[in-house]
Symmetry: D2
Subunit: 184 residues, 4 copies
Amino acid sequence: MKLLLMAASLRKGSFNKKLIDLACVLLREQKIEVDKADFSEFDMPLYDGDVNEKEGLPKGALAFMERMDATDGIIISSPEYNFSTPGTLKNLIDWISRGKPMPWTKKTLLLMSASPSLVGGNRGLWHTRVPLEACGAIVYPDMFSLASANTAFQEDGSLKDDDLQKRLKISLIEFVKFLEKLKH
Amino acid sequence: MKLLLMAASLRKGSFNKKLIDLACVLLREQKIEVDKADFSEFDMPLYDGDVNEKEGLPKGALAFMERMDATDGIIISSPEYNFSTPGTLKNLIDWISRGKPMPWTKKTLLLMSASPSLVGGNRGLWHTRVPLEACGAIVYPDMFSLASANTAFQEDGSLKDDDLQKRLKISLIEFVKFLEKLKH
Amino acid sequence: MKLLLMAASLRKGSFNKKLIDLACVLLREQKIEVDKADFSEFDMPLYDGDVNEKEGLPKGALAFMERMDATDGIIISSPEYNFSTPGTLKNLIDWISRGKPMPWTKKTLLLMSASPSLVGGNRGLWHTRVPLEACGAIVYPDMFSLASANTAFQEDGSLKDDDLQKRLKISLIEFVKFLEKLKH
Amino acid sequence: MKLLLMAASLRKGSFNKKLIDLACVLLREQKIEVDKADFSEFDMPLYDGDVNEKEGLPKGALAFMERMDATDGIIISSPEYNFSTPGTLKNLIDWISRGKPMPWTKKTLLLMSASPSLVGGNRGLWHTRVPLEACGAIVYPDMFSLASANTAFQEDGSLKDDDLQKRLKISLIEFVKFLEKLKH
């Protein structure tokens, strides 16, 4: 069992990166192999149908697909931009959706979010589900949204709130069980 | 009364560009001034919070805002990517949303779409409403979605189906009336 | 200027009813006439196309339409059920949508919500916009969601948090201005 | 392997009922046991939190839950009302969501739709996913939407379009495989 984890943020101090870091720690404790990716590794232009036709998918999209194909499941922690999916993440989803056969088909994802707001970015995740599911990906129903993310982390990277930390751990374990079932 | 019109597609042969061209013709017939913009005029990087903080908004976003502020309303015709907003258009919305005060507040938009599919891209428009409305823009409830767009146009740029052409014209006139009321 | 206000909840102790009560007080202070309706006044069966064809709209739907047609705008405060519109409210929207000509066309609404949760029911409102806008209603982009509604009210019905109370008042005044513009 | 199938329509001549009938035939061909339910078997009032507190769930909701719990998966074919979930179906989802422990958790569903329109009711299904997923149900990403449903069926109940009939069959078989994996 191996998972790809990525925060869909380019910002260095991103709370979503901190949440991904913590998820990696918790998964390794469960003996799950993790491949932690940085969004900046998958640089790609804004989608242009003409470029796609002439040159195919950009290197960044191909690199993400390769990493994705080498794992059993994907965890993306994404900020919410204007109550919806960041254009940056949607651009990645869009480019990859032009691969053939459809690269997202039956890929299984857990979505998370972290935000300084009291809502924790959850509204955005509901928008992010749609294009992924439209492309045939299986998006785990349970999603983890971390509110007040600017004050939620301890210095060691764990969450100050023990209950929240437990809930995150349970979400991750449940997702792994789900992946194991689908792997058969 | 002056409107900004743009197809949210970088592709040269975009059906959304053809729909925007037609809308411009129909609006000029109504003595409405139009500013037809090309999406490629607003080139900008993928949103990065650190870049935003250091350098402010990119030139492409500032250029769109200037054009937008010089008009009474905006018409965007957008393709649908994976049942949702193109990442490219969302990236434009996201960048502009970081201007202060919020540049989208009370901006009034009509959304359209064109697609070779039988649905005409309408599902995507419903996702595009959300971030715009979240930013305080007023999105006209009626939206015009052109299905089978690959066979819908005559050589002179009008629609083969007279009823559809009439419906488009009425949508545009109704939107202009709406703008006039809000202008008071 | 006259407004119809209703909480989309049948529960006696509904926080949405309290929010509607407060909105009525604030509107009357602005010399706006209000018609406060109770959801239970519009009792109607679950939508059945056969019943609709044989008997037309139920009395409850007709009663709501009459009240709606006698006002310049509508304010609905709705709970969120499972991150979406309550089936009860959607059933009202559905029945009314079968009137001819479409009764919702150009009706102008402000949506609000109140919930004990930290999100305040805001996710549900975004779902409620869609059928209303699909029916041609104009839904004001700004929406007011009251979080922690179980502890938010003073005994006199105002909000404990002065800033929130001011924001609510401004939302209401802005909505009334919007209605006045559209009335011309 | 046993499935519960239901059309979320009370109308006698419902196209969704025809689609459910056809799905039952195709599943039986695959030696899958089916329990075909009629929406009218689950009569229930509009949700009222006070009634819920005093009397618990209505008989109709309890009956649906019993049938649901006796199967490995659920197929619902739903009309689209105003681009969204019918209030009637949402009312069922809402009532059941008040059971403890949450009755929808890990229930696995396939959503279908049939409509005389060219879109086939697909927009509505995307709204129906949300409350189900919010309640912890697993909604299969692939959804089957039958457009032009008023002319789509042969007298024997199969689809006139062979390719569509095959696609429906494949959707059903793929869903059953998915259920089998999750059953382990």
